[in-house]
Amino acid sequence: MSAGSVTAEPSVAAAPPGDTGPGLRRYGTGALFLLPAFVLLGVWIVYPAVYTIVRSFYGRSGFGDFVGIDNYKTLFTTSTLTTAIKNNLIWVAVVPAFATAIGLIFAVLTERVSWSVAFKTVVFLPMAISAFATGVTWRIMYVQDPNLGAVNAVGRVVADAVNPPGVLTDALPSSPGLTGTAQTGMVLKTPLHLGSVAPIGLTGIAPDQVPSGAKQAVLPPSRPGRIVGVVWRDFKPGGGVPGKVEPGELGLPGVTVQLRNSENKVVKTAAAAADGTIDFGAIAPGTYTAGISAATFARPWPGFAWLGTKLITPALLIAYIWIWCGFSMVVIAAGLSAMPRDVLEAARTDGATEWQVFRRVTVPLLAPVLSVVFITMIINVLKVFDLVITLAPGSSQNAASVIALAMWRTSFGGINDFGVGSAIAVFLFLLVIPVLALNVRRFRREV
């Protein structure tokens, strides 16, 4: 079913020289030379193609089970398969256009720089890597955790500069004294008055996340005319008693506690000492609440889920364009170097700006080359398989599926339904045919 090898057909068909003279012998010699090609084509192209088409009308169990066009109905009614078709349309709409455009830009720009060979080599290099290896590499780069995935690591640098993470990124209120969550901030339930002591216990803090310099937490004694308290990691091995400062539990130095009045306005803040104690100093009598704002718990940017079901197709498209824009750049650059320079010079002499030269002269003259790149890309994209199967994790493969992958999964990936698998293959073949015809016609014209 390889569409690439089907393109070989016209050149073979054009080979027999019919006009060089009559005589059986001449035809006999010609036929003899053609025989190997016909045998190879027959065995590797025609027979499997016909077999696949016939097989697509039979059910899972084999040729005893004629089902008519049921397999094709399945193809258009099964959600995993329609997703694959839809995704392929997205691929065709996006990849050829972007790959050609980016290739064109690179090709035109590299003409102007002195180190263009180095640049072209770098851009072309992905072509030298197998799509399988590319898929594995990008899968690692796309990992969501910014500590692991290169793409999200770049994102974190930007995101954390805008929204700096808090002192404590992972913390839970220790029941029962506090309400709220790390996202909303936490507030001590009991109202405070002068002379109160506020115990603010937090859990869910890993030992290596406790701020440095932390010491054994101390519950300060009540002080008349003041509100004091303690912020500490309310956890010791085994759990301990929630809400009680116990030996082995550390203070959380640097955590800022807000004191709010009855109108819920922050009147004072205090930072915890090494043993976790806080002292709001002298304040007016009244009813207060103490709590920690959400900013303290602000998590670092979590990263985009590139490999999740929502972003997997864009992630694949980016990786695929990365592979192929080198190819389009090289082909377009070749076309560019073959272009008559005097036309460009003439346009410039006539006062055209660089943009006008590019838009009105370069692009129209390059049109044949651009269409080659574009059509090649459409064929490539329709057949895309290896990148998808290696880059998309199993849990996202339904969302990322394309026709070729759906064919493989249906035929060999466990379902082992060669009937539907063949129907998908035939459908893919039908999709490729118009593009091939276009390509063949163009070849003819050029010859």
Binding site: D145, G204, P237
Partner: protein, 438 residues
Amino acid sequence: MRSRSALKAAVVLTAIPLAVLAATSIGSSATKARQAQSAVSGSITFDGIWTGQEAKSFQQVIDAFNKVYPKVKVSYKPVGDNLPTVVSTAVAGGHPPDMADIAQPGFVKQLVDKGALKPITYARSTFVANFSPAWIALGTINKKLYGLVFKASNKSTVWYNVKAFKDAGVSGPKTWPQFLHTATTIKASGVPPYSIGGADGWTLTDLFENIYLRQAGPAKYAALTAHKIKWTDTSVTQALHAMALVVGVSGNMAGGTSGAVQTDFPTSVNNVFQNPPKGAIVLEGDFVPGVATVKAKAGTDYNEFPFPSIGGSPASALIGGDTIVAFKDTPAIEAFVKFLGTASAAQTWASRGGFATGNKRMPASVYPDATTRKTASAIAAAKYVAFDMSDQQPASFGATVGQGEWGLFQDFLRNPSNVTGIQKKLESSATAAYKKGK
């Protein structure tokens, strides 16, 4: 399509020498069948999935057998993972091997249904002396003994980071409530309790099966495996609710829910085996340490406890394993089958590592290290023993990436509140798969 015909050719090529071997074995054994048991002779062809190191270990077992029966020649052929294809083609061609070991219980049943296998009733007394009834039940199909699970792996182990457990002050829980409480304590200590490899659907089905075996019991487990009860059954509802206690809270998992869905199995292991850990517990089989790529030492960095008992369930083991079956009936084969059921056969391989057996007569001290000793002896002691359920189901339901059980359990991980919806989808997917499988 192309590769299929190539495969056929390859199968035919391998089948020819097999046929020759089979023919010679029949000829030689038939003449000597009436000789005394001690002087049994003949030859056996044996197709196995074990290759490389495992094939070498099995050769040692054969050598040990030859010390007792020097006149029986066993020719082991390491076929590898394609064994079902090779054996079913050989059976269809009328020249099966004399014996084989098979990893897929579903395939064993298929061979029995085709009438390709010979019962090994003669070995029953040997097995009864060495194995618990649950293990003999694994080899019994249509009320006759056809197979022996010779080499098994324990899928009911829970691996944890020793430092995370020490920091949290917890130790291996025995029961389900203790297990959940342990997780809560670990969470309070600041480490996400579970590392879930949700990008690989089978890790989720293994977790479900472990819960289901303990909660619903072996009879229901077998019924659900054969799709004799529906996936909409209340026992499944209960098991899914229990499973949601583990995978239902985003904060309980390394990377949260969205991270867990994208974590593949090796990463989920590394999350737990590294220091500082990204998660404290990973629920998978005895093969977990072999998957870790971070440096970690058994006992000091990581350790293991058996999957906890649920609702007072007795010691249970979910296993994977290779079943020995016989296609013919000769004194030589009888002798070898019986021998494989003895403690000394198990001992020969167990001492070399990478092996666990349900043979309760084999002393646990034979296993090469403490961790293996614990995980391996647990399966011999278990009262409930069940094969991995998804390995026994039609592949389109139980073993296809992103589809059937694997895909639906991933959906469940994404949205654990929708128990009823998942059950309905599981049921309709199972119905389609079991209908097609026939």
